[in-house]
């Protein structure tokens, strides 16, 4: 994905915070996933609709003490992971 491409949540995904961590259940596949703190926050940010990776990084930069380059790499990896597991998709323009 490029920084300007936007991702959005896939349908039929249930999220729940359990013990301070975010867990996702794919209702279609019955598969279960756990997200770390950054992943959980990204999932929250996607609640308002599609976000580009750059927009996600802008928001996260205000909240986490992480260098921008590290953040961009982490968010890109997370976005790829979410897509690979059917939890998110590239939003149509």
């Amino acid at each position: 994905m490029t920084p300007d491409q936007r991702i959005e949540r896939a349908d039929d995904i249930v999220a729940r915070e359990v013990g301070g961590e975010t867990v996702l259940l794919d209702l279609e596949a019955g598969a279960y996933f756990g997200l770390n703190a950054v992943g959980g926050r990204v999932w929250e940010l996607l609640e308002d609709g599609p976000q580009s990776l750059a927009e996600l990084c802008d928001a996260l930069e205000q909240e986490f003490a992480v260098e921008r380059a590290t953040l961009e790499a982490d968010v890109a990896a997370l976005a790829a992971d979410l897509q690979a597991n059917g939890l998110a998709r590239v939003a149509a323009d």
Binding site: D12, V14, R16, V18, G19, E21, V23, L25, L27, E28, G30, Y32, G34
Partner: protein
């Protein structure tokens, strides 16, 4: 509570449609297949019985396969069908066993053949009455959960039966379970008991009782394997079920428990479990 209505035995004709859900054993063998029939669900246990379930109805129809053991039909109804109905109707039922201890109920979950019933029997033998052998029915009670007693019977393999009876009666060993009724030496708890902790049984690689508290997220991932739903395509119910399991994972301590599968070690394991449950008492 749902009622089982048994019909005469009949052959299980091959079904044309593929199941929308199936249960398989850890070894990959089929256990049950779910087929949709209009607004009812046909749950087939191959060579044993067909159960017809109409969600919301308090009767479950059963057509046993020829020569099926009637006791096996009853056990399937109590231990496999009822939990599906409980979860479908908004309750919470897990696959596992439980005992009442002075510090609250302790429940045991784990994969098949991990020793859930044997450990419940061992705890009972040490003076902690068993509440259930296979179906953990939970009721929310304030900010905690209670375990509802089920049938006062433990179904175990022959060697475990010998251990629990303190005498060797030569039950045909490892292939067929025998039913042990509760008695003075194997007490049953007839009243609900507040759930103190859930123990997740490991593979038996530890050399002594090994207890490790689990994080709620780990607990949720684990418990999802032991709570079955009637209709996996009913997304609203699956979502609600997930919410209830999440609540359970947050409210109740979960502990990973491994121990050697040696009857001589079981009293120490039971003691370790009870002591650990005491540490959670508030």
């Amino acid at each position: 509570m749902a009622r089982l209505v048994k019909h005469p035995a009949c052959h299980q004709d091959e079904l044309a449609d593929p199941p929308f859900d199936s249960w398989t054993s850890p070894a990959g063998m089929p256990i049950a297949h779910f087929h949709r029939r209009g607004d009812t669900i046909l749950l087939r246990f191959p060579d044993t019985a067909d159960f017809t379930i109409r969600p919301g109805c308090d009767q479950v129809a059963c057509h046993p396969a020829p020569e099926a053991d009637p006791a096996a039909i009853d056990t399937l109804f109590h231990n496999s069908i009822r939990p599906l109905l409980i979860n479908h109707s908004g309750g919470l039922a897990l696959h596992g066993s439980a005992c009442a201890t002075p510090h609250g109920a302790v429940a045991f979950v784990g994969l098949s053949r991990r020793g859930k019933t044997t450990l419940a029997g061992a705890c009972a033998k040490e003076g902690n009455p068993f509440l259930t052998e296979d179906l953990i029915e939970l009721k929310r009670s304030g900010d905690s959960y209670e375990v509802v007693p089920q049938r006062p019977v433990l179904r175990v393999f022959g060697d475990t039966a010998d251990y629990l009876r303190r005498s060797r009666q030569g039950d045909a060993a490892a292939t067929r379970k025998v039913a042990l009724a509760a008695n003075d030496a194997l007490p049953f708890a007839a009243e609900p008991s507040r759930l103190g902790a859930i123990f997740v049984l490991g593979p038996g690689e530890a050399t002594g009782p090994l207890l490790s508290p689990m994080q709620p997220r780990q607990a949720l991932a684990e418990i999802m394997q032991h709570a079955f739903v009637l209709d996996i395509e009913d997304k609203a119910r699956v979502k609600a079920h997930f919410e209830r399991l999440s609540d359970l994972a947050e409210k109740v301590p979960f502990v990973a428990l491994d121990y050697p599968r040696d009857y001589a070690a079981l009293p120490d394991v039971a003691s370790a479990v009870v002591d650990h449950a005491a540490s959670y008492r508030t």
